[in-house]
Symmetry: C2
Subunit: 160 residues, 2 copies
Amino acid sequence: MTGTTDIKPTDDRELVLTRLINAPREKVYRAWTEADLLKQWFAPLPWTTPDAELDVRPGGSNRIVMRSPEGQDFPNFGVYLEVVPNEKLVVTDAFTEAWKPSEKPFMTVILTFEDEGGKTRYTARVRHWTTADREAHEKMGFHQGWGQCADQLATLTAKL
Amino acid sequence: MTGTTDIKPTDDRELVLTRLINAPREKVYRAWTEADLLKQWFAPLPWTTPDAELDVRPGGSNRIVMRSPEGQDFPNFGVYLEVVPNEKLVVTDAFTEAWKPSEKPFMTVILTFEDEGGKTRYTARVRHWTTADREAHEKMGFHQGWGQCADQLATLTAKL
């Protein structure tokens, strides 16, 4: 798969994905932080993302609705922990808003956007609280799902 | 107990404690954020706090060592989620550093320091991810332990 390189997880509770995306990092960052853009790539087709509200600041929350091919909606809630424009985003589902604990802290996502000669080294480190959750996420199809979404992200940002 | 008022938890996963402390909020905030001061009140005597490292900023971590009367040390790790000088501090044990998930996300502590005619309305809201953890914390002696520490905090800040 073009633009994929090997990258190792930090430990056995982390899953990681990286892509070299043929767009400047400002555009890749926009696709993660502007709701109208995020809705175009966030769910792996034929799933869709009919609704997204993103309050992108430390302590800001998001609500992203994913819709199954059968039409069932799945809302996801998270809180941004760290925001460095065009460089880094950290978001967790351990809180649904600042600072209300969620029903189940499952993952914290660390996204980095690095310039590589005008392209973007896009890396998602997905950290879990337990190895069991990391394994479950992997079996749910993390690599295929996040990989497909990264491809959709790359396709969108190339057109921006 | 002087300065105590009734205050209700937000929900059944929260424990809450409040005190009216006879010191301006700047001093109460200092006692929470300066290691040399925190070591003087943080553990309920005869427990002590021999070591504390506090990197007080969003994403900064802390390491606070509590020592039992028998001499056994218990290090605690946390990360600050929100810092508003002299007004608010939010710290969680869900991470040991930014952004490394801890072994067990147990609580998020929301501290507020409000001016009441030159005194400080000090409130600690301690939120857990489960009702079971809230119950366990209560049975471990939350109200007595945090209450005793609040008294020690009040005694110290009155002398600053």
